[in-house]
């Protein structure tokens, strides 16, 4: 089932990925967000629908994301999500701290880089 190629998400990163996806993709529906993450990560990151929708709800509740109903290309009713200004700020914060985290992990895994 190709499970080996998929990667468990680090806890807390799903919200960030959603925010990033909406920041680049503009207005998207839930399925689109999941597909985008899968595609961009080259099938490595598989977003579980079981966590995606609750995460979208949570972000909406925190005011980071807004939703509205619209019609998809094939004229089906769908809910579209967009980033709010607060969401954009939150994404910035998350990216900075995630970057620091990655850097720190990198230093631990490869001590030679920490000499400078």
């Amino acid at each position: 089932m190709g499970r080996t190629s998929r990667q468990e998400l680090l806890p807390g990163t799903l919200d960030m990925l959603i925010l990033k996806t909406l920041a680049t993709g503009g207005v998207m529906h839930g399925y689109g967000v999941a597909e985008h993450i899968r595609r961009v990560s080259r099938d490595v990151l598989q977003v579980e629908e079981g966590s995606l929708y609750p995460a979208l709800q949570r972000l909406q509740l925190q005011g980071l994301v807004k939703s509205e109903w619209g019609h998809s290309a094939n004229n089906r009713r769908a809910r579209y999500y967009r980033l709010t200004p607060a969401g954009r700020r939150a994404l910035g914060d998350a990216q900075t701290s995630f970057g620091r985290l990655l850097e720190a992990i990198g230093r631990v895994m490869d001590p030679s880089r920490s000499t400078e």
Binding site: H29, G30, E48, G50, Y53, L61, G63
Partner: protein
């Protein structure tokens, strides 16, 4: 903040949001399926995979619902709705559970409401916490000649809350810096007449500062004040709210109208608030309050109120701000000693009484103390019933949990978390508890009234004390919540512990209870039996004790006797007129057709009322007045005295053993007495005492002649049937001062005594319609009312024990019926292999008996220990009576057999063919 706003909005629109999510997810699945199809997967398989990838939609929806807002509130409403539906679907379970809990909670709430009213409620006055009661303690020598009120006396000394008026005045005058002292006196019954219509009511006399110091404001008119409490003041009185409603229909113009109290005209100055019931004993609610100075007018027959050796004033003190109880006590102590030393110089030096202070916010204490034990016992009984009910509901819930294994498994499979299922089950338990609580409050209203006589409150007190108020409601809520926890938690966790696969499997193995679960239900049933045994044993003891009391030979012929009382002194009769009235009454009654005989006495027999004095042989020298040996001498020579007329023994049919009874010729002669056999034996060692001399009273004026005994009669009960027949001296009413209180007439009738009641009233009205007849009843009724407390207690405890027994039977029946259903295939196999029906019957019966035996083993020690609280109430039974215990155990066993009967028969009727095919 904005998050909260969004949350509230989401909560309000939660149904729409839920719908949106459902739609969104459906759309998602459709797209996914489309994408998979595009990859070349067949349509069916694509749809299936898409659905699997989304996973558990229900759980998703629930999760986001929880996120949106107020998940608990939301799902509680949902749980409640679901719970109500479940209860409606199984009405038998619902009714048994709710009724059994309602009975338990009702009993507990009734006891609570009585305890609250009797033991804990404070007086309806300003700042009750700063009130104190004054009590004196002395050595064994009495510091007074006569005392009105409650007194305690033992070897060490005496104590009471009644003071002389002189002492009360000194308290007010000399301790004014430290404490405000108010005085009052219970005048007991009074003849209250409005517009010439008389009725018997109750009255208190109160000091001029009473209402001001207590801070009681009248709801109408004014309260009594200092100027009213003077000997020369115009007589003014205030009335209680209840009396105002009863006699004046709550008319505003009642103030200013006149009210005759024992024939003395008072003007009504005001009406008191409904919450105020005076400062007397618990349960008293005087109709009228007159000034202390008016007591002399209202009760002229009493000793002179200003006599420093007549102690009758009850007191309540209010400590001044910043004054400690000890400082006030010290000052009052000095004042009392000074006052008593002035009145009784013989006591000075040694035995002067001292003052003690007690918290006074709840009024007088003596009656309250006597109610505490019966209340405690009732509380214990109610608690047992509640526990049995809880165990019963728990076992019902457990059984239902097993019956619902499938439903619960489905819920779990649909994504219900374990905690969610536990919560659902707990909500159902709470719903049962809430309904039980409501029923309990309704029952408590009635039960507290039914219980009041059982703890010894009289009918007058019941109306002022019973009822359901906010505190009782709160109590019922707490009890219901505690009960829900008690019976709900265990079954909920047990039942939520379902294994999916097992629960959903088809076939007979569904939900076979684990060993642990079986043990738990067995334990619950055994617990019900163990808890019911003390109830049944206690009820058995009380019923047998009542039976014994009812069979006591009273010593006179109680049938065909009509009793009634009059009190001419309350209508202003003097000595001469009283004699004329009672002699006229006797004469006319004896001439009335249907009357066999009529007599009178100064106490009603078997009504807990008596005159108790001292009688000794003239050669037994009484210790001197004031001597420390005097109280012991008096205790040794206590004699019950009854003043009667010539025909008393004949009318009551008390056999005369020796000598004769009174004759009119004795009227002017030397004092004579008839004594009963017990007194004769105590004084002379023999019943042949005619002609011997007896000395009554220990404080005699010199020169008073001794009393000659003219006859000895058989023993008969005087005050009650519980105690031994007292040593009794009968005195002749024509040789004594006239009755200062009620006179009792005894009328022996040919037919049914109550049939003559109207005629007798007519006769008395014909003599003087201003002298009301009261307390008319037959002697049999009097004995019944004497045993009222015992009877009500026995009835109530039997009722509650019956409930406990019934609940245990239901628990046992439920368990056995379930076990038989479970074991039907096994029973089928046994029967197919040749087991006889008898064996199968016995198998079920044995299970019932084993559980009962376990319950009894636990219950017997509980019963032996628990029924010891009844010891003081029992009559004619040894404590921990083995016979009653055995009967109670047998009753439990019989119940166990009865409960097993239906399941056992069902088991025996199992058709092996049918059982094995399914």
């Amino acid at each position: 903040m904005t998050t909260l706003l969004r949350r509230v909005r989401a909560f309000l629109r939660r149904d729409r949001l839920d719908e949106a999510l459902r739609e969104e997810l459906a759309q998602h699945v459709a797209w996914r399926a489309q994408a998979l199809e595009a990859e070349g997967i067949p349509a069916d398989e694509a749809r299936r995979r898409a659905a699997v990838s989304v996973g558990n939609v229900t759980r998703l929806r629930e999760e986001s619902r929880d996120m949106w807002g107020f998940p608990t509130l939301d799902s509680i409403v949902q749980d409640l709705r679901y719970g109500a539906r479940v209860l409606r679907r199984s009405p038998a379970f619902a009714v048994v559970a709710v009724v059994s809990l309602g009975l338990g909670i009702g009993a507990a709430a009734a006891v609570f409401s009585l305890s609250d009213a009797v033991l804990f409620r404070t007086l309806a006055v300003r700042d009750p916490e700063s009130l104190v009661l004054l009590r004196w303690h002395s050595g064994p020598v009495a510091p007074f000649n006569s005392l009105n009120g409650y007194g305690q006396q033992d070897e060490a000394g005496m104590s009471s809350t009644s003071f002389s008026y002189a002492a009360y005045e000194a308290f007010r005058r000399d301790a004014a810096q430290l404490i405000d002292v108010v005085g009052f006196a219970d005048l007991y019954y009074a003849n209250l007449a409005v517009d010439g219509r008389a009725e018997r009511g109750t009255a208190h006399a109160v000091s001029g500062n009473y209402f001001e110091v207590l801070g009681v404001r009248p709801s109408l008119g004014r309260a009594l004040a200092e100027p009213d409490d003077r000997v020369d003041a115009a007589p003014a009185a205030v009335i209680s709210d209840a009396f105002w409603r009863r006699r004046f229909g709550a008319a505003a113009d009642a103030v200013g109208r006149s009210l005759d109290v024992n024939g003395v005209r008072f003007t009504i100055a005001g009406v008191l608030p409904s919450a105020f019931h005076g400062t007397g004993q618990v349960g008293t609610d005087p109709d009228v309050y007159v000034p202390l100075a008016a007591k002399r007018l209202v009760v002229p027959s009493d000793d002179p109120p200003m006599d420093p050796n007549f102690w009758w004033v009850l007191t309540v003190g209010r400590l001044k701000p910043g004054v400690t109880m000890e400082a006030a006590r010290g000052a009052l102590d000095v004042i009392l000693k000074r006052s008593v030393a002035a009145a009784r110089p013989s006591l000075a030096g040694a035995g002067l009484p001292g003052v003690a202070l007690e918290p006074g916010g709840r009024g007088q204490t003596e009656e309250r103390a006597s109610l505490r034990d019966p209340l405690w016992t009732m509380g214990l009984i109610a608690m047992l019933v509640l526990l049995v009910a809880c165990a019963n509901v728990a076992s019902l819930l457990l059984a239902r949990g097993r019956a619902r294994v499938r439903e619960l498994s489905v819920r779990a499979a649909m994504g219900g978390s374990r905690w969610r299922i536990v919560r659902q089950l707990l909500t159902e338990a709470s719903l049962v508890a809430a309904l039980g609580g409501i029923l309990g409050v309704v029952l408590a209203q009635w039960l507290s009234r039914a219980m009041a006589p059982a703890i010894g409150l009289d009918a007058d007190a019941v109306t002022t004390l019973t009822g359901v108020d906010a505190r009782v409601l709160l109590f019922a809520v707490c009890v219901a919540a505690a009960a829900a926890l008690l019976f709900g938690v265990l079954p909920a966790f047990r039942s939520a512990d379902v294994r999916l696969s097992a629960g959903l499997q088809e076939g007979g193995r569904t939900g076979t209870p684990s060993r642990k679960a079986r043990a738990l239900s067995g334990a619950l049933v055994a617990a019900q039996i163990a808890l019911s045994l003390p109830l049944v044993a206690g009820a058995g003891l009380l019923v047998r004790s009542l039976w014994n009391l009812q069979r006591v030979d009273v010593g006179f012929d109680a049938s065909h006797l009509l009793l009634f009382q009059v009190d001419p002194s309350l209508s202003g009769y003097d000595e001469v007129r009283t004699r004329q009235l009672i002699d006229g009454a006797l004469e006319r009654l004896r001439a009335t057709p249907g009357v066999v005989g009529a007599s009178l006495s100064n106490h009603k027999l078997l009504s807990n009322s008596a005159t108790i004095g001292v009688a000794s042989r003239p050669d037994e020298v009484a210790p001197a007045e004031g001597s420390a040996d005097l109280p012991a001498f008096e205790r040794r020579h206590l004699t019950w005295q009854l003043t009667v007329d010539e025909r008393f023994f004949e009318t009551m049919r008390i056999p005369v053993r020796h000598g004769r009874t009174f004759a009119a010729a004795d009227a002017g002669g030397p004092p004579v007495a008839v004594i009963n056999a017990t007194l004769a034996r105590r004084l002379f060692g023999t019943t042949e005492a005619v002609g011997r001399l007896m000395r009554t009273g220990s404080r005699r004026r010199p020169g008073t002649p001794d009393t000659t005994i003219i006859g000895v009669v058989a023993d008969s009960h005087y005050t009650n049937v519980r105690s031994e027949v007292p040593a009794t001296a009968y005195l002749y009413y024509r040789q004594l001062p006239v009755f200062k209180s009620a006179v009792t007439f005894e009328v022996r009738t040919a037919g049914a005594p109550s049939a003559l009641a109207g005629t007798v009233r007519e006769v008395m009205r014909g003599l003087d319609r201003n002298v009301p007849v009261f307390g008319m009843l037959t002697q049999d009724e009097q004995i019944r009312s004497l045993l009222r407390q015992e009877r009500v207690f026995a009835t109530l405890s039997s009722l509650l024990a019956g409930i406990g027994l019934l609940l245990s039977a239901i628990g046992l029946y439920g368990l056995l019926a379930y076990a038989v259903t479970q074991r039907t295939p096994e029973i089928g196999i046994r029967m197919a292999l040749g087991a006889e029906r008898r064996t199968v019957l016995w198998m079920v019966l044995r299970q019932s008996l084993v559980l009962t035996a376990i319950g009894l083993a636990a219950g017997v020690p509980a019963a032996v220990f628990g029924t010891s609280v009844l010891d003081a109430m029992l009559f004619g039974l040894p404590p921990r009576d083995a016979i009653t215990m055995s009967i109670a155990a047998l009753v439990m066993l019989a119940t166990a057999v009865a409960a097993a009967a239906i399941p056992a028969r069902r088991a025996a009727r199992v058709d092996p063919l049918v059982a094995l095919r399914t």
